[in-house]
Amino acid sequence: MGILEVKNVNKNFGGLKALSDVNLSVRENSVHAIIGPNGAGKSTLLNCLVGKLIPDTGSVMFDGQSVLGRKPYEINQMGISRVFQTPEIFGDLTVLENMMIPIFARRDGAFRMHAYESVARERGILEQAEHVLEDMKMADKRHMHAASMSRGDKRRLEIGMCLSQEPRLLLLDEPTAGMARADTNNTIDLLKQIKEERDITIAIIEHDMHVVFSLADRITVLAQGTPLVEDDPQNIKGNPKVREAYLGESA
């Protein structure tokens, strides 16, 4: 029994079958990669996990509880954090403030009317935020405007914001898309480090095979909305079905 169990999920957009009978089981404390060609339904599947979309049929269970019908912020509070394809951070705020917000969210819940207290007096939260920034090797950037950083740094910040909430499941949507090689390698190293140091489950959607094979313990290949195979990385490489899905029949 995995920490995340997706059973018989179907999702149609009008006449288009985006997902049909998707089954997926993510084991606790593993890195599970979901790969597949464009239009395979990877992002649709991810959106069904975080509450942005609701599947037409089927179930999504996280740690024995259904996530269906919950709002994104409620799912986050169950212990699922999401990293977006293009880094979603608070661009107008400083890096330190960016890091404080998820820590506030974890302490105070979805809403708290703390309009008279002062941020500067929140010693505990400040310390935690500084600590995560040091972990992310971003302490020197703490007073920078988040929007002014490089893409690699924004990604690093976003991952740090997710980790500061100590989630049980981290979902990454093409974390290295559009990145320079050096930034990609940095991100891989960061994720490897996270995997080794923390009790955390990671589900990752990725195009870049270099990233997938450096990180994944388990791989699911999606094609045209259906899982083709689920196997260990070494078996995926030689699988003829996977080659066919990616390169077409002639290959």
Partner: protein, 406 residues
Amino acid sequence: MLGLNKKDTTLLLVVAVLTLFAPFILNPFPTDSAMAQFNAGYPDLMQRFIIFGIFAIGFNILFGLTGYLSFGHAAFLGVGSYSAVWIFKLFTYNVIPAITLSVVIAAIFSLIIGFVSLRRSGIYFSILTLAFAQMSFALAYSVLSNPKFNLTNGETGLQVYADDPQWFHRDSLPDLPHLFGLSMNSTYTLDVGAWRFDFNAGYYLCAVILMIVFFLAIRIFRSPFGMMLRAVKSNQQRMNYTGLNTRPYTLAAFVISGMYAGLAGGLMAAMDPLAGAERMQWTASGEVVLMAILGGAGTLIGPVLGAGFIKYFENIFSKINDTVLHSWFSFLPDGIEDFMVFIVHPFIGKGWHLTLGLLFMLVVVFLPGGLVEGGQRIARLLKGKKKTPPSDGEDHHPKKPPHVAE
């Protein structure tokens, strides 16, 4: 001091000094001089500076922090005024219950309107608030003013009549709004040489309230709640996926700013006990938007500056007429004098809107951060001569887009 850091304390003290000494600061010209018409230190106008300052501070808590542009805040101001006048009519001329009720009623109104309007964001939110404000205006102007049920007294405006009950009114008390017997109208005039300074009780009540609500605004800006509001403006998507529910945050900001508007409306009625529907019209809502943007949305002091700026123009420029112009240009030969008057004429008197429009345009184009940015640039120029500019890459930051676009 009071839980503020050094910079904010200084700001609060500056505002305190400016408001307390406004009767001097705004009356720099001797009473009989030609420049006396630029004096703004008479009670009526000073009260308006402060009241619209409060209105703009509140508006800025919503617009400056969350980026939600409301075009209906005048409705809360109007509701506040009506509530206050009803207290005057039914119970007492004491301003404390009147102002309290205006804030409470405005809070209830903004809770309802905000709850519906905040289901949408961006332009749709603005249109919804505008629609609500226009509905309120229509209700006040005609619907709620008929012989059977006259809540607003329609076109004439709600005012206190001699046959109103005023249950707690006693003959010993002034027959005008008062604070425990101190009439809001009472003014002490100080003559110093050619100068004349007016110290008005109503003005000082407004000034004290302004200082309190300005202090509260600073606390909100520096609080975790204020940080969450700025996060709403920056990226709602990230907030939702960070376990935060943005709706109650925006609604709370909306209600707080509605209460500020209600307070302003209540004070307006306390200074002059009548309330008219035109206070709720969309032009009045637009005016507070201009104040916030002109002064600098999202800054603490900006909206107050913007409010003062606009009210000064409205009251001072509109009073200049052709006779005044002729006297200014009388040193020129006749033909040129008439020509100059002809050129300047459209910008004064009833044309003050034109001058304001031009200034607004210049500020938005050249100072997207409003008057506050102008002040910062001047300060930087003055400092730059002494110090070398910082080289830590601060200047590479992309410029924030003007808030109007949101």
